[in-house]
């Protein structure tokens, strides 16, 4: 962090105050609106309804699974991107970041037309193994992993670049093999970045909506996660939708508190 360059409050140009306050209001007022709309007396009932509990359980399960997938696949990818010198590494990095900037519903379509029954991979899976992915919990996990993976890769790769290769080179000159260097030197160095990457990908997975409803559908206990339940309830039972929204906000606040400061206050890319 750049504490030495912080300007004392008195020296912030006056012209910046109005838009700054407006920006803050834009973030906080909607949350305040949601809180005002919440039926706190019925909150326990609303949050423990059958549909809510199913959605909560499914959300926690799928977000946890996709976070594990993000770690298992994303860490090796981050190491390859940070350390290897093959010529197209910059292009590959850009591709990996695609889900970060892509509208999730577009991601859902991309998944549908690759892993759906008529997609080339989905067709192959169907013909060879009799597996169809859409409308299953697995589809939810895949959609969440798709959108959450870049957060982990960016976190870990940034840390790898920042720490440099000196420790690893020393370990190697002392006779450690690449696998030993990775487990004994690289991994411990990565832990803080990995932790914040994990929290961020979990949060992103938990909040996934567009790719899920497009690719996985919406069925209680199978594919209807918390955000999808909020959307479904918004049609009929607004109090319930608001209560679930509040729950998601609480989870988000916890995530921000846990993940501070490294990742939320600026992912080093």
């Amino acid at each position: 962090m750049t504490h030495d360059r912080l300007t004392p409050a008195g020296r912030v140009p006056r012209a910046l105050w109005a838009p700054a306050v407006l920006a803050l209001a834009l973030v906080t007022l909607p949350i305040a609106g949601l809180l005002l709309r919440t039926d706190f007396a019925r909150l326990p009932t609303l949050l423990t309804s059958d549909a809510s509990l199913h959605a909560l359980r499914l959300s926690l399960l799928t977000a946890a699974l996709s976070t594990v997938l993000c770690v298992l696949l994303g860490v090796p990818l981050a190491v390859v991107l940070a350390r290897s010198t093959f010529p197209f590494v910059r292009v590959v990095r850009a591709v990996v970041l695609l889900p970060l900037v892509l509208p999730p519903v577009v991601g859902g379509f991309a998944l549908l037309y690759s892993l759906g029954r008529n997609g080339f991979l989905g067709y192959l899976l169907d013909v060879t193994a009799g597996i169809t992915v859409p409308f299953t919990t697995a589809a939810v996990v895949i959609a969440q992993t798709f959108v959450a993976m870049p957060f982990l890769v960016v976190s870990v790769e940034g840390a790898l670049r920042a720490t440099g290769e000196d420790f690893e080179r020393v370990a190697a000159t002392l006779g450690a093999r690449p696998a030993t260097v990775f487990t004994r030197v690289t991994c411990p160095l990565l832990l803080p970045a990995l932790a914040s990457g994990v929290v961020l990908s979990f949060a992103r997975a938990l909040g996934e909506f567009g790719a899920t409803i497009t690719f996985a559908g919406s069925l209680q206990g199978v594919t209807r996660t918390l955000p999808l339940e909020v959307y479904a309830q918004a049609d009929a039972d607004v109090d319930s939708a608001v209560a679930l929204s509040l729950l998601l906000i609480v989870i988000a606040v916890v995530v921000i508190v846990v993940a501070r400061p490294r990742s939320v206050e600026g992912v080093r890319a």
Partner: protein, 240 residues
């Protein structure tokens, strides 16, 4: 700098609809199943009234009702069933009596050629059939459940979609083998239809009502009930 801010603020306000010519804009909230018909009607109404801009907002009826209850402003509401319209009336939002203008029944949309040989509602319970339906909160979903109960069958659904267009989308994309949609939804070549024997056991009646005192709102309602009825019948809607 400040001039630039003023200009962009003005642009924002204009986008938000705060323009001087507001009285010649007519906002219509219409059920998702009315998308094709009301797009046509919008065009015709604008042809007859060159100074009017009709804006139609399509979504599941219940979602529209919810938006209205939360303060969304619209001049006319066309719902896919009477329960939803009653809710809106209960909120005290209507300025006129709801008038039925069409009816609709359910049918099964299947892939072209019906490769799985689906013959009726009972087949939607088959293990090898992936079927989708509207979620029970919207009219097409409640009608689907009503129909299944009336016929004493228990279809298995792989997904409950937010509205009827999403159900149709899943069948069109080939992800679902079958979807319960309205008879008016299967009039294109991308899907085939398997008619349901006794579909008239769950008939949706579509009411229309005005939400403002604007003369234009009443005029649009009259237009839908009058000249619009031909367009509705052509699209497969029944007479109320």
């Amino acid at each position: 700098m400040s001039k630039a801010i003023a200009t962009s603020l003005a642009a924002l306000l204009a986008m938000a609809g705060c323009t001087a010519s507001e009285e010649r804009t007519l906002t219509v909230f219409a059920a998702a199943s009315l998308t094709d018909v009301f797009t046509t009607l919008e065009q015709r109404f604008e042809d007859e009234h060159p100074d009017v801009d009709v804006r139609v907002h399509f979504a599941g009826s219940s979602r529209l009702a919810q938006q209205l209850a939360e303060g969304a402003s619209a001049d006319v509401f066309a719902s896919a069933d009477e329960d939803v319209m009653r809710d809106v009336a209960g909120e005290g939002l209507l300025t006129g009596e709801p008038t039925p203008f069409a009816t609709n029944t359910l049918t099964i949309a299947v892939e072209p050629g019906n490769p799985l040989g689906i013959r009726g509602l009972a087949d939607l319970a088959r293990e090898d059939v992936t079927a989708v339906v509207c979620q029970p909160q919207v009219p097409c979903g409640s009608a689907a459940r009503e129909l299944a109960a009336a016929h004493d069958v228990e279809p298995r659904f792989a997904s409950e979609e937010p509205d009827v267009t999403a159900v149709l989308g899943k069948v069109r994309a080939g992800e679902a083998d079958a979807g319960l949609v309205y008879v008016t939804d299967v009039r294109d070549e991308a899907v085939d239809e398997v008619a349901i024997d006794g579909a008239e056991d769950a008939v949706n009646t579509y009411p229309i009502a005005t939400l403002t005192e604007a003369p234009l709102a009443a005029e649009f309602q009259r237009f839908v009930l009058g000249a619009g009825s031909g367009v509705l019948r052509d699209a497969g809607f029944g007479a109320p």
